[in-house]
Symmetry: none
Subunit: 180 residues, 2 copies
DNA sequence: TTTGTCTGCGACAAATTGTCGCAATACTGA
DNA sequence: TCAGTATTGCGACAATTTGTCGCAGACAAA
């Protein structure tokens, strides 16, 4: 890239997976973005207010505050910011919430740099293909858990009680990625 | 309900599953809504323009045009309409799209009337369903299995394949009653 | 009859859940 | 600020549930 660094579009990458950030930020820089990395929402917020980015990639599940907070902050600061949510624990409940808060797209890991960059752009997916298959039982369970969890503001104990399920079991389920 | 029919909040229920509509519309009427049912997007659209509803429940997978079209029409006609998407073929991609088009919530079947009403937004009927207990995971599983089983005309092997579940396990589950 | 699929069920290993407990944090109301 | 309470993230082990394999009978189509 021969472009002056300051002319490049600014991009904030917020994810607490260090190696993932290294790989992805390099790939994004190759594509012409001026990347800033933050490994937690707490670290990202001051950067946002000091220097609102044009693009942002946010992981929802970071240690500490949820990425949803960051999305809101980004959107409040500059409604034109293109925000892509990228998470390994994708669920419909959090997707709905993220989009409502102003996210542009919602992808689940793993996703390569091209897919992410692509997600910044078009939103016109007119002909979306519906799944031919009904959701698997485990997927359904995952979605349901995520929804109740959100209704309980992320309180695991309360969620376990509401679902009449043992806290230990819920913990274990939450630890796994949403298979299938 | 002693309320005059015209004073009740209007609700459009768009789903091509006839029995499902019957059950749900009755449950919704009990909760005070003036329910109108449409079994396809084509049938629903004229109703929307003629008489924009305050609430809507839309299935995405209907014969013919996708429910996404209806969502857009509803939102274009009256941006204040509270739209809940309800589908048996839930996916994150369609959820994202539906919310962007103006849907309020996105639920996957099975969902009971309380959960749906709740999804319209706590603000509207704040005092109503505070203690709405979410269905237990096993209940959800039971209903889902029954639905898929019916789609497969009671064929256990095919259902097990569709649900990506072992036939033996499905058999065992079917042997039990729908425990809470 | 042969072939292919569906079904019910026994048996046993593999995996998941229920339970109990503990130490490290939050959170809350004097 | 401090005690009291709730939450959280585990480890460990027993109790249950699933995954797997296999087999025999039913049924329909070729």
């Amino acid at each position: 890239m021969t472009m002056d660094f300051n002319e490049r579009p600014s991009l904030l990458l917020a994810d607490d997976d260090v190696t993932f950030c290294q790989v992805l930020s390099r790939a994004l820089e190759k594509r012409g973005y001026a990347v800033t990395v933050a490994h937690s929402v707490e670290l990202a917020l001051p950067l946002v207010t000091a220097n609102p980015p044009e693009f942002a990639i946010v992981d929802l599940k970071m240690t500490g505050v949820s990425g949803l907070v960051l999305i809101q902050a980004l959107h409040d600061t500059d409604a034109a910011t293109r925000i892509v949510v990228l998470t390994g624990y994708a669920s419909i409940a959090t997707a709905v919430e993220a989009i409502k808060l102003g996210a542009t797209q919602y992808l689940s890991k793993p996703a390569n740099a091209d897919e992410i960059v692509n997600a910044f752009g078009h939103s016109a997916n007119a002909g979306l293909a519906l799944n031919a298959q009904p959701s698997s039982v485990s997927r359904l369970e995952w979605e349901h858990i995520q929804r109740v969890l959100q209704e309980n503001q992320g309180n695991i104990s309360a969620t376990a009680r509401a679902l009449n399920m043992h806290r230990r079991t819920l913990q274990r389920k939450l630890g796994k990625s949403p298979l299938l």
